[in-house]
């Protein structure tokens, strides 16, 4: 199985990323419309817990006077932060894999692309943890279901940070490889 060049895994991934790029643009627009419109007059609200468990909270279990605007404001803020980060990462990955298909993995531009993806991953980790904690805290304070105890764990999950740091190191490895490649290309 070939990983670089034409008719390789890179070409397949490159095509997927292109589909994801255009699909994401449509998806981002739908999410924004969804947050603005669909939830505005909602009775109760829905939650999706990491891992896919979905919970629908009926209005009778929500503290009277709970300010929905705060909840949806936080939700909108996290969407507004996450979408550009996600789109930027996909855009850079598209460029990266196009170069892989052209069999030019080691150049300064690719190192820069990987570094941007690393920053996006770390920034989304930060947004996810900060706004996620605020959302969890808001919900835990305002939802009381008999027999169910809701609490928030504010200790950040470190997976995203760890992944971001690995990607940053990888970008430096690519920068070093690009430097060696340039030197080799200019050795006559």
């Amino acid at each position: 199985m070939r990983y670089l060049g034409k008719k390789s895994v890179s070409q397949v991934v490159s095509k997927w990323l292109s589909i994801l790029w255009y699909g994401s643009m449509a998806g981002a627009a739908l999410i924004l419309i969804g947050v603005f419109v669909a939830n505005r007059n909602l009775e109760g609200f829905g939650l999706t817990i990491r891992g896919g468990l979905k919970i629908r909270v009926s209005p009778e279990y929500i503290t009277p006077g709970f300010d929905y605007k705060k909840y949806f404001g936080l939700l909108l803020l996290s969407v507004l932060f996450m979408i550009p980060l996600y789109m930027a990462a996909i855009y850079q990955l598209r460029g990266l894999f196009r170069e892989f298909v052209r069999n030019r993995p080691f150049n300064k531009e690719n190192a820069r692309r990987i570094r941007i993806v690393g920053w996006c991953v770390m920034a989304s980790w930060l947004v996810d943890n900060v706004l996620g904690a605020a959302l969890s805290w808001t919900i835990a304070r305002n939802v009381q279901v008999p027999g169910v105890e809701l609490s928030t764990n504010l200790f950040p999950r470190l997976t995203g940070l760890f992944l971001g740091l690995i990607i940053m190191v990888l970008s430096e490895v690519f920068a070093e490889a690009a430097r060696i490649k340039e030197e080799q290309d200019l050795t006559i």
């Binding site: 340039e182 030197e183 200019l186 050795t187 006559i188």
Partner: protein, 72 residues
């Protein structure tokens, strides 16, 4: 500037074209141009050896050290 390649001068003295030299030392025109225009980062001993052989000269005739000028 550091190390300067004086290939253009020697080629002129020997009356040899870039195409002919590239053919005789068996490297591409593109690589020879990089060398001639001082864009190369390094030169292999094997390339230097072939250049000296074809141009009938010493490595010192091809390479020259130019002291970097102080910007002040």
């Amino acid at each position: 500037m550091g190390i300067r390649v004086r290939l253009d001068q020697i080629m002129l003295e020997r009356g040899m074209s870039l195409t002919e030299l590239a053919k005789r030392i068996d490297i591409t025109m593109a690589n020879l141009s990089i060398l001639k225009n001082n864009k190369a980062k390094a030169i292999r001993f094997s390339t230097l050896e072939r250049l000296c052989e074809v141009l009938n000269c010493q490595p010192g005739d091809i390479l020259e050290y130019v002291k970097n000028e102080d910007p002040d």
